[in-house]
Symmetry: C2
């Protein structure tokens, strides 16, 4: 799992889970999908559990399941649950009292607020079901196994 790929890695995991909705998948299994470590998986998707997007159960036969239907899981929720920031730039004051800086931060923050609302609206309209539909289209076209190592 590379840097900055938490969103795509998590979506990868979730689509796999959506394809086997009846069976709990272990962190170990999920980890192999994205070529990483079970502990990294648990840590990464812990926030999704808190948000009700997935559920986890311990012990024999335990593992991870989707918390609700893929149609009801939006990328916006997933992104928030992962703690991802949509816009990367910082606007924290470094020269308190400087009016130039205050002007810069004010304008940049206005932009940020508007931009984040726009992006959140777009992400809200994409659901996990859309992703699985896209996957199935590709699967039907090519007709091979779902996961290559």
């Amino acid at each position: 799992m590379k840097r900055n790929s938490r969103l795509s890695s998590t979506l990868h995991i979730l689509v796999h889970m959506a394809e086997k909705p009846e069976r709990a998948l272990t962190s170990e299994q999920l980890a192999t999908f994205i070529h990483t470590n079970p502990v990294v998986v648990r840590r990464t998707i812990a926030g999704l559990r808190d948000a009700g997007i997935v559920t986890s159960s311990r012990g024999h036969g335990g593992g991870w399941l989707l918390g609700r239907a893929p149609e009801k899981i939006s990328l916006a929720e997933i992104s928030v649950a992962l703690g991802e920031t949509l816009l990367p730039f910082s606007t924290e004051p470094e020269s308190p009292g400087c009016l130039v800086e205050q002007a810069v931060i004010a304008v940049l923050d206005d932009f940020r607020v508007a931009a984040e609302r726009l992006l959140a609206e777009k992400l809200d309209r994409i659901t996990l079901a859309d992703l699985t539909a896209d996957f199935r289209r590709r699967f039907d076209l090519i007709g091979v196994s779902s996961h290559a190592v």
Copy 2:
């Protein structure tokens, strides 16, 4: 200069330059505005020079000047010249051949393209002149010196 504050730090510098358009400011002077090192300043705004947003001259009396009027310098250009990425998440394949991953990346890239166009359009409408106007409004209101340490 903190991490991820390159855009706001650079804008801070540019507004100061716009306030003294007749006088070349040295990297040393610019560095004090954002509490950092002259070399960091040169490195950071080198891209702005390549984009024609600022000019630099060496030797005695040298330094930095705006390359054109503040009305003709948009935040979109500045952001590009800094090499900033508007959206932070990565969508590079890590499991070539996995159809699930391909579906995820396809959807995410569609989103990214649309989102980046939206953001670029918004940033294109904000110019350095807007920032200086905001600064002057604050300055007139409070009526004190332009820069506190």
